[in-house]
Symmetry: C2
Subunit: 415 residues, 2 copies
């Protein structure tokens, strides 16, 4: 493949932007580092002859016109990262999309009648959701799940709005685009491919998931003066909930189905060593490979939360919740991807995604294909995240072939 050494060269160059000492990147949404990455990417694809546009919430579109006036196929992922994130999560998929589109252009299919669609390589704004919540923000607006105005007024912990942050890095506009289908490639962020030595994962469905925002309300008092019986300890209540969540995951996981629970964020007030906490906010989620198993485990989780609250003598308020079923990806898309992998001699298997991706949003709007490449030891959201060069290259090769077939009208028909 002519483009492969160039892909690795570009990937290494991109990984220097926002690089951290531990080998990862810090490119949180709409920070200076995210802006630098977006501008680097813009330069790269303008070098390929693509046109770059921004929509109202900073989604970045690199347009390759193969057939004037034809509808667009989108391919992409996200360039933003966690505070100490890996260099592959999201960024691999955007760069792979650009290289795949460039390879299609090089095939000269624009004059042959083979191409029925144009290609938009997309860098979705704020997939990670760490600086501005929620995650998958840009693709949520694009698919009509979130209102643009609400997103633009969302603030980071310092009170900066999304609008101000995007304007500060100059990557906001008024571009709009309809797309007919979506393709995304991403690192697995799990270990099933790495454990089995399979080169490609074809995603068949998401896990079912419930996400809860809780507020734990106690009463502030002096740790050095308040006896146990008088305490309404919000941090103890929250700690009990976190432990209960792990208990439930262990209790409901067996050989058939898996239940995973998480709490990664907690805000404690006043968070002083000598004060019993009066207020804690925490986000807890529960996911399962099975919708039924999830329902059983969730009921037990809520019961255990009340137990934890009772022990700490605190009150629980449940704020926002998000419920997802185990949504399937398009069957014909899975078949197309498997056939493309076979044609290239790449090993592949069906996988489920525990994590959310921009494709989780897009698949609810248009036919969508989601592909994975292996992650070493499944490590992700970590500076040590690693996908091997040969696995990245195999993914670019497959993405090119998939995109070629999709552009030729073999997934969705041109209008």
């Amino acid at each position: 493949m002519a483009q492969t050494p160039e892909f690795l060269h570009d990937f290494r160059s991109m990984s220097t932007i926002g690089a951290t000492a531990g080998g990862g990147v810090d490119r949180q949404a709409a920070t200076v580092a995210d802006g630098q990455t977006r501008n680097w990417f813009r330069g790269l694809v303008e070098g390929y002859g693509f046109d770059v546009r921004y929509d109202q919430v900073g989604n970045q579109f690199a347009l390759l016109e193969l057939v004037p006036g034809a509808p667009y196929i989108a391919v992409g992922s996200h360039l933003d990262s966690q505070p100490l994130g890996g260099r592959f999560d999201g960024a691999y998929g955007v760069l792979a999309g650009a290289h795949a589109a460039k390879a299609l252009a090089a095939l000269g299919i624009d004059g042959t009648g083979e191409a029925k669609f144009n290609i938009a390589v997309v860098n979705w704004f704020n997939e990670e959701g760490c600086r501005f919540k929620p995650s998958m923000m840009g693709s949520s607006v694009f698919t009509g799940k979130l209102a643009a105005e609400q997103v633009l007024e969302t603030t980071d912990p310092k009170g900066v709005t999304v609008r101000e942050a995007l304007e500060a890095i100059g990557t906001i506009g008024d571009f709009t685009l309809d797309v007919a289908a979506y393709v995304e490639i991403h690192i697995e962020q799990g270990r099933s491919l790495d454990d089995t030595g399979v080169q490609i994962g074809v995603v068949e469905s998401t896990w079912a998931a419930n996400k809860y925002e809780y507020r734990v309300i106690g009463d502030q008092s002096h740790t050095g003066a308040t006896v146990i019986a008088d305490r309404k300890d919000a941090l103890l209540g929250a700690a009990g909930m976190i432990v209960a969540a792990r208990d439930v995951a262990d209790q409901f996981t067996d050989a058939d189905e898996m239940v995973v629970t998480s709490c990664g964020e907690i805000k404690v007030f006043p968070n002083s060593p000598v004060v019993v906490a009066s207020d804690v906010e925490l986000l807890i989620d529960i996911r399962s490979t099975s919708v039924d198993r999830l329902a059983e485990a969730d009921a037990e989780l809520i019961r255990r939360f009340e137990e934890a609250a009772k022990r700490a003598d605190v009150v629980l308020e449940r704020g926002k919740e998000h419920i997802w079923g185990a949504n399937e990806y398009d069957k014909r898309g899975q078949e197309l991807a498997a056939a493309a992998a076979d044609s290239l001699g790449l090993s592949h298997s069906q996988v489920r995604t525990l994590a959310g991706h921009d494709s989780t949003n897009l698949k609810d709007m248009v036919p969508t294909i989601m592909l994975f490449v292996p992650s070493v030891d499944g490590i992700t959201h970590n500076e040590k995240e690693l996908t091997k060069d040969e696995d990245m290259l195999a993914g670019v090769e497959l993405l090119t072939e998939v995109l070629r077939r999709v552009a030729a009208g073999k997934f969705v028909a041109a209008a």
Copy 2:
């Protein structure tokens, strides 16, 4: 008492500085509000004819010279508060000290030979330890337990040093003073006096206490992609420790002795809803009315911490620890205070202090008397903290009588 209406007037005036909407105060150490309170207090006592001086770490001394050249007795507490603290904690004792000293001056004992000592009313810097750690900072330097240079370089979460903060509010100097004895009055911050209707607590000893700083070391990964078996979840480990601490308090408290454990502060990294936390820092303390009971409970606590760490697959690092025995206050001081209360017809009982106070430091250097007035429902470090007017006034009356006896050489002899 001629001074009593004036005391309440002054107390109410002082309570408007840094007042919070909920009826408390926010006067964290060396903030603008703390500076305003210090300057208000300076004006008040200069109005009484006292001289005000600051030492190298911002301890504020209001000097009343009764006998030129005689040694000094110190009386005081602290004017700083928690972020949403009550208006009585510390501030009551400083103002009570000023009014007691003023009452002594009004007695005209300076010319009679009754007075053997001069009086210094002291506002100790940063007793609370919320903006700058550790707590009891000013009295720790005064008693040689902390080095002034180390304290002055200590930073708040924004990187401002104690020296910069004290210079910004103009309450730092180079004054030094030797004191022969120390007297402090404070609200109880517990419910033993309020429950029994007793007016005065004479403190006989501190509780024994161990305080630990722990770092919980896990590994960062994606909550949405990492199965339970692969997680090294620092927040789960910390939550397990917090729950274990409460378990130990419950297990080791019985009718004879009490064990209290607390965790009010936790720092989580990276604290993102989609990331398994890699690092948590937390402060946990364990206290008991009995040194032996504390030792038993502490051993169980450490064992349970290791259990919690094992479950979360994390590593614990124990940082600083502070160990205090159950230190007794001077017996003769307790007798002097009890006799003074009897002479005024005030009911009193011996109490132990669960909380640390500046007197906890001072008593290790000079003979010290510590007095308590009741706190309604024991509520403290809370805007709802309350000591009734009549209890405040009874405390001022007693403090005046105690100070008169101490100044007359009935506690320590004049050199």
